[in-house]
């Protein structure tokens, strides 16, 4: 009996320990690397641009959000895609090769060393940004658009730029502002709600059919309005209303497009989603 008890106890202990081990392993796996991005000269402001996907059918006019950057010794304005869903800034290998070939004056500043750019420096709307140990993805077409006004995207700006700062995406005015404080004129007109930033993921508190939920804001995948689970989506259906099939935007059944109801002074905060019939 005593032996059986000991064996059982050992088994339980083993289970608990492997559970803890597995948890910390997964946590470490999903934890972003240390933030190596620094900014000098804030506040900074500049234009926001949309990247349109004209290959997709139907065409997606808001496929990506872009900000212009300037590199030293490079006369061409390059672009980074704003990707708040990524925990760090990355560069695209083929685009860097194209840049170095076209503008030899760039020298070794964008040279790869063991799949990273040791120090990536650029000017963003008047501020000087430096990203140490920038990861480089095998990505991009490697072709510079002949039209000098067409955006040449060399990478994406991740959530590392947001840590401890304020980013204003003014879609209406097509401008962005990166600052240390919220501009006073905007703060006076805005409705605020809590934001969490665990592991450099942007979680916005919003209302789904009257219930408070945390939603991940990912500016890098703009083609949809809201993605949520089937349960949440069904919970959002108005009582008694017959479900109307919603055209798939991306990835069919878990996708749903709903109306945005910003009502000043609303207790639910600035973002509230309700199930809505789409105009037919």
């Amino acid at each position: 009996m005593k032996t059986l008890f000991k064996v059982l106890l050992a088994l339980v202990l083993l289970l608990v320990l492997s559970g803890i081990g597995g948890y910390s392993y997964m946590k470490g796996k999903f934890a972003p690397p240390a933030n190596q991005l620094t900014v000098a000269g804030l506040p900074a402001t500049g234009p926001l641009r949309w990247l349109a996907d004209t290959v997709a059918r139907p065409a997606v006019p808001h496929a990506g959000l872009l900000v212009p950057i300037r590199l030293r010794n490079c006369p061409r304005t390059c672009y980074l895609q704003v990707d708040t869903g990524a925990p760090y800034t990355v560069l695209y290998a083929h685009q860097l090769t194209a840049l170095r070939q076209r503008y030899p004056a760039l020298g070794t500043s964008l040279q790869l060393r063991e799949k990273v750019v040791p120090e990536f420096r650029f000017a963003l709307g008047g501020a000087q940004v430096a990203v140490g140990h920038t990861k480089v993805l095998v990505n991009g077409t490697g072709e510079m658009p002949a039209d000098s006004l067409a955006p040449f995207i060399i990478g994406s700006l991740g959530a590392d730029v947001l840590e401890g700062r304020v980013l204003v995406l003014d879609y209406a005015a097509s401008r962005f502002t990166l600052a240390n404080e919220v501009p006073a004129d905007l703060a006076a007109r805005a409705i605020f709600a809590p934001l969490a930033f665990p592991e450099r993921r942007l979680l916005l508190t919003a209302a789904l059919n009257g219930e408070s939920r945390q939603l991940l804001f990912d500016s890098g995948t703009s083609a949809y309005t809201l993605l949520t689970s089937q349960e949440n989506w069904q919970g959002m259906a108005a009582p008694g209303a017959a479900p109307v099939p919603i055209p798939p935007i991306r990835g069919a059944k878990n996708c749903c497009c709903t109306r945005w109801l910003p009502t000043p002074g609303c207790a639910l905060g600035p973002l509230s989603f309700r199930w809505a019939r789409l105009p037919t």
């Binding site: 209406a172 919220v182 805005a190 709600a193 703009s222 993605l227």
Partner: protein, 42 residues
């Protein structure tokens, strides 16, 4: 939604993902320093 997004969403306790579209026509303030976000209406 790809498999990775779906898996991450299921295990991370996230309850949904937002793209840019809800904010288009207005402005979104991401005040990470102050732990709040703000929306300026459209």
């Amino acid at each position: 939604m790809n498999l990775m997004q779906e898996t991450l969403m299921r295990f991370s306790g996230l309850e949904g993902m937002l793209g840019n579209e809800p904010f288009v026509g207005g402005a979104l303030i991401l005040d990470v320093k102050g732990g709040r976000y703000g929306v300026v209406g459209r």
